[in-house]
Symmetry: C2
Subunit: 401 residues, 2 copies
């Protein structure tokens, strides 16, 4: 692994005070950690980040959620409701570049760490917040979780079968999708701070962030004048055939291949017919143009499915891709986990943890000079309390002991 992973140094020396929990905030600060920043989670001494899912008196048998959003971070335990704990965090904020929080609305102010307080301590700090709904929204006081943000941000409305109910996209875009937009803005502000020394106040709402990912759907609405629709595995607004999911052998729940022909490339259809032994249909006027094929989409889909049903999704992907027509097998998490090239390329890495079982998980997928960020373990609760206080605040071992 030494060739394909490294400790990325893009943000070496950048200090982040991490007051986040669950996913939207932690996914943002983990990104900074992967790029080399020193990210210190401030956790309550009892149960820590609720994303640890610790339960009183129970063994910790579910560390996975915490692992995936907190790799490469440090953890210190501080009681923010004590005078000493609050003073200590204020001292850390004086020396930090960035602070991120995603508490419920109003909570950070009640803790005595609102923006005006922190800015007075450190005018150069980048103060970043995630909320569920934006200030000025009718729902600004409401709690949000991933599902709520996705429902209210539109993603449910465009996911699912055309004649079925709205459906939750199975990924936590409401959380991680929001965290990524905040990370981008934090890093823009950090570039500016390198010129000016000045900090900024950044705020993002999860509902608002969803609209960023819905832009194609808004573009489709611009064209049609109607709310964007659901289309199962078709893409509403693209009138082309064949395009979609086709069933493969042996017929398991994810044994499908996505095949997509381009309107702009009339060869795609002919190549598929040749590959599938249906040269008899090349030039058949019933299927000659994309418009003809859309009219006869059920027939077109049946022609393709007859061929795909007797092949595995991998074989179908390889054969269709081999004639230059875009195709992709539907892979599930176990198939992705077991595919060796992800680990060989550093995209999946095994987290070696001092307490928990080794766990293979996705790393930061962008390669820098050919290498990905090396995954280091998520911290145990309070693991770095002493060392952070010594190095950040200059306390002696005796002070913190």
């Amino acid at each position: 692994m030494s060739d394909v992973t490294t400790d990325l140094d893009l943000l070496a020396g950048v200090r982040v005070v991490d007051l986040t929990q669950f996913e939207a905030g932690p996914s943002c600060t983990e990104t900074l950690a992967w790029l080399g920043a020193e990210v210190v989670k401030i956790e309550n001494p009892k149960m820590g980040d609720p994303g640890r899912r610790l339960r009183a008196g129970q063994p910790d048998n579910d560390p996975y959620y915490f692992h995936v959003f907190n790799a490469n971070k440090k953890s210190i335990t501080v009681n923010l409701k004590s005078d000493r704990g609050l003073a200590l965090v204020k001292d850390m904020l004086r020396t930090a570049d960035i602070v991120v929080e995603n508490f419920a609305p109003g909570a950070i102010e009640r803790l005595g760490l609102g923006y005006d307080v922190v800015k007075a301590l450190n005018p150069g700090i980048i103060y970043a917040q995630v909320k569920g709904f934006g200030e000025g929204s009718p729902y600004e006081k409401n709690l949000a979780f991933d599902m709520i943000a996705q429902a209210c941000g539109g993603t449910f409305s465009v996911t699912g079968e055309a004649d079925g109910p709205p459906t939750r996209p199975g990924i936590s875009l409401g959380d991680t999708g929001t965290g990524m937009l905040l990370a981008i803005t934090i890093l823009g502000a950090l570039c500016k701070k390198r010129e000016t020394g000045q900090g900024r106040r950044l705020e993002v709402a999860m509902q608002d962030a969803m609209m960023h990912y819905m832009r194609i759907n808004f573009a489709t609405q611009g064209l049609t004048g109607k709310a964007a629709q659901r289309g199962g595995s078709k893409v509403p607004g693209i009138n082309n055939a064949p395009m979609g999911l086709y069933p493969c052998a042996p017929g398991g729940p994810n044994d499908y291949v996505y095949i997509m022909t381009s309107r702009a490339n009339p060869d795609h259809w002919d190549r598929l017919l040749k590959l599938m032994g249906r040269e008899d249909l090349i030039g058949d006027p019933r299927y000659a143009t994309p418009a003809d094929r859309v009219v006869r989409e059920a027939e077109v889909d049946a022609i393709i499915a007859t061929w795909t049903r007797s092949r595995s999704k991998q074989a179908a992907m390889e054969a269709v891709g081999g004639v230059g027509v875009p195709a992709g097998a539907v892979f599930d998490t176990m198939e992705l986990h077991d595919e060796p090239s992800f680990e060989a390329r550093g995209i999946m890495q095994v987290m070696q943890h001092p307490v928990h079982q080794p766990f293979k998980m996705p790393s930061w997928p962008v390669r820098v000079d050919g290498q990905t960020a090396r995954v280091k373990p998520s911290p145990t609760l309070g693991q770095h309390t002493d060392t952070v206080l010594v190095y950040w605040l200059g306390l002696t071992e005796a002070d913190v002991g």
Copy 2:
């Protein structure tokens, strides 16, 4: 709008040569433009970025897709296959901070603008690439589009009804989701460049990027030892009830409300029963604990749905949220478009375009010191050819005329 939007200056003075098309690349460079960078699209003189969807001899009646991914950019037309055009782009690369491309595999090298060439021209440049599949993947030569990346990256496998086929999440995460991860890494590299003057080579594959958004699903697999499942609008792996979508009046395709009770807060269930006039069930041993309610989930869902069916989704969201239980209505793109608070807060803005109709679209949703990035029009093809050559390359009006 003057109070809530502004020209963000975080990346003022940063020069980006934009060799991208369609969505994955353009969504990345648009983000840089919104934060204040000068992003110049290099487009072929005939039809430009294929995302413009220009068709020979036809009026341009579908500018929306291009608008949403190319706001606030400049456009120059250059024939990259001519010696003069290539030399001109090389001169631009000598003065740029960042270059981004998402051509098909091998195309940038065939153009004569591979990494080694560009690095020799400008060792300080950040050279960023999007591909469908990673170098070293079994599919590295394959084309990818959003749907292919999502199928092969796992998101289809976790979306849809538990007993139905895999389903495409209705948002273009394969494209924009990838673009966001590249933007983060570009800005990390730009921070470092401010210290060292050195550029970096960055590469991301769309399939790999999807795994980043699938981390919860990998965490669930870690716990269960099985591939992550689909769950309709439930979240597989969370054993709690009530949680999910409930039908509302008047019964339109998106008339649903998401209601979520917390395992950690037993009050949620009692509050719902009181709100819904079912105090008779408070303390009923059949529904006392989250585990009891999961066993009787169909009954629990029927109790909730009886109440939601006679209310609008907005009224249901307000009432349930009002008793402190997380709830979110399923909004469609038209409802989001028509909700005035988005425009009042600068989250949605009307693009005023010199050629096309005004178009209301999402802006960058992160507020910087209380303001969002002001949306400026997407460029017409070649609109800035003369001014960019004069200002970037010091050519005179006579040279470019």
